[in-house]
């Protein structure tokens, strides 16, 4: 450690690792996975793991992956919801690890909602049947 710049760099990289322990700021995106019995039975666990892996691989800042109990639409599990910094909420249903990866790359990394996986799309699909 010879310069103040080196110290700053180390601080930035460490802050990413420790951001969990600070109160979420305005930029934070929260991904909440339904991990009740229904969710786990439907395969929420691999979905959660896939989310965690992919967020880590991409080094996304300001993303918190957390879990909650039953979201209430057990028939559509595994479910996770993305809370944007602007207060928006997107509910993704019938998730798989593969679908989760796409949500990370499109929604979390680039801010584009994956319309076809949302609860709205699923309900329209059901209505059509």
């Amino acid at each position: 450690m010879k310069t103040i710049e080196e110290l700053r760099e180390l601080r930035e990289s460490m802050q990413r690792k420790m951001s969990l322990r600070k109160a979420g700021d305005d930029e934070t995106v929260r991904v909440v996975v339904g991990m009740a019995t229904c969710g786990i039975a439907a395969g929420a666990r691999p979905v959660l793991s896939a989310l965690v892996d992919e967020v880590g691989k991409r080094g996304l800042k300001n993303v918190i992956v957390t879990q909650t109990g039953c979201i209430g639409v057990c028939r559509l599990e595994p479910v996770f919801e993305v809370y944007g910094p602007d207060g928006s909420k997107t509910t993704y249903v019938k998730m798989t690890p593969e679908k989760a990866l796409r949500v990370v790359s499109e929604h979390l990394a680039n801010g584009r909602v994956v319309e076809e996986y949302t609860i709205g799309a699923a309900e329209r699909e059901e209505a059509r049947k």
Binding site: T3, I4, A23, T66
Partner: protein, 597 residues
Amino acid sequence: MNFVRTNILVCGGTGCTSSKSPEIMEEFGRQLKAFGLEKEARVVQTGCFGLCAAGPIVVVYPEGTYYCHVRPEDVKDIVSEHILKGRIVRRLLYSEDKASGTARSLEETDFYKKQKRIVLRNCGVINPEDITEYIAFDGYMALAKVLTEMTPQQVIDEVKASGLRGRGGAGFPTGQKWQYAAGYEGPVKYVCCNADEGDPGAFMDRSVLEGDPHSVIEAMAIAAYAIGSKQGYVYVRAEYPIAVKRLKIAISQAREYGFLGKDIFGTGFEFDMDVRLGAGAFVCGEETALMTSIEGNRGEPRPRPPFPAEKGLFGRPTLLNNVETYANIPWIINNGAAAYAAYGTEKSRGTKVFALGGKITNTGLVEIPMGTPLREVIEDIGGGVPNGKKFKAAQTGGPSGGCIPASLIDTPLDYENMAAIGSIVGSGGLIVMDEDNCMVDIAKFFLEFTRDESCGKCSPCRIGTTRMYEILEKITSGNGTLEDIDTLEELARHINENSLCGLGQTAPKPIISTLTYFRDEYVAHVVDKRCPAGVCKALLSYRILADKCRGCTVCARNCPAGAISGTVKQAHSIDPAKCVKCGVCLEKCKFGAVVRE
């Protein structure tokens, strides 16, 4: 870098460590593995969270859920319910939250919301054994700023402007002390840290060293730059093994990262430091005795002047500050003197850590802005006196301090107001007493301590503390006279005026203070041969009220001295010759038939 979605913080302070927090950490490791969560969750050992009464404490982020009284067998539930399924384990929540059924973050609890944590900013937040976590929270930025942007005089001016005063007890302005030390020229100068925390009931210095040792190392390097020193010493008592271990780890990590050693930040500035262990003698917390001890001699004070700034350690100019004082410095440099001075009162700036102990619900460490009224500390933050008892007094400043009676509970806690009522802020021990505490007995407790700890170098302290203790012993055993109280007062004055160092000078304070506010209790012991609080055994007797006694025999069966006789369903009686006055009969009797007089 692996993305970790949850951090589990386990308190590694001395209190929680002795109630099994190391086992809890191990169990988390095992359970996380069993559930296949070891890559997603990180278990971190931290310093003290402050609410020691609720320990061992575990905090889970990002939710900030605060779990109390966690046992190793609870870990499985936390992992399988909370970490895996996101369901908070309600039975382990903090009592305030349990009542309301909601899990709030720590900052919202009554215990924390009135606090302002500057000294304790990283305690319970970072892993003290990992320098990179300290760096994440702006660690060593203050040192970098000082070395690259400020002159030594600018650093001293900044500390002066903050209004920071010595937190070890005396409250001497820190900036001025640095100025004096900078003013004496010499080829060799020293920066020392007093971590010989000895007041019964005070443990903030230990907690800072255990929870955030780098803040002290960084501050000492800053001080060294300000006064022109290359070598520092931390004098810490060997009775603080966890603090010593973490401090040593921190020093070696700081060396490895180049914050200690030669040419720090490429500026040519050089500073290194070592740890010296004390054997736990109270007098070694006195600055001249501390330096004598570091020099390898028997820890005895020497007359001042010369003051340490002129001729201190090894006869060289020396700067000596207390742990808590140092821990403020990086924050002041990073946030500015004005931000620090915004807390507290006009002459007592900033915050002070108090160690709450005794008859108080939330035993632990609290950091409050100077000038917070005692009432807020006891009732709001401390949660009041438990078991519905009445608050009687608070003892501050340990054996060098005095007490604040209930009538003065609105006194603001700052240097001036405390001195005005005959007590001191001191190092920050705050022992709460209720109606069951005898004030003469309290004075005797502290005199027994100072008598034992007097180094013996000067006669006022060596002989005086013993004489005062003997008189208190005489009074509490029921043999005191009114003249004894006068003798006590006279002795107290002499010892205060004539002792060599602070230990002796302040030793009479607990007596003077209790005599000022609780003289009637002394008189009751002497004249009525009675201890109003029912503490002094020689003045007590236990009796069974024949009309209330049902003859259940519980008291007789529990009496350790076999002093109670009587047959079943007949009134019992106590033989005063055999009674050891332990009070077990009073506790066990379900009918209120046993009385203490």
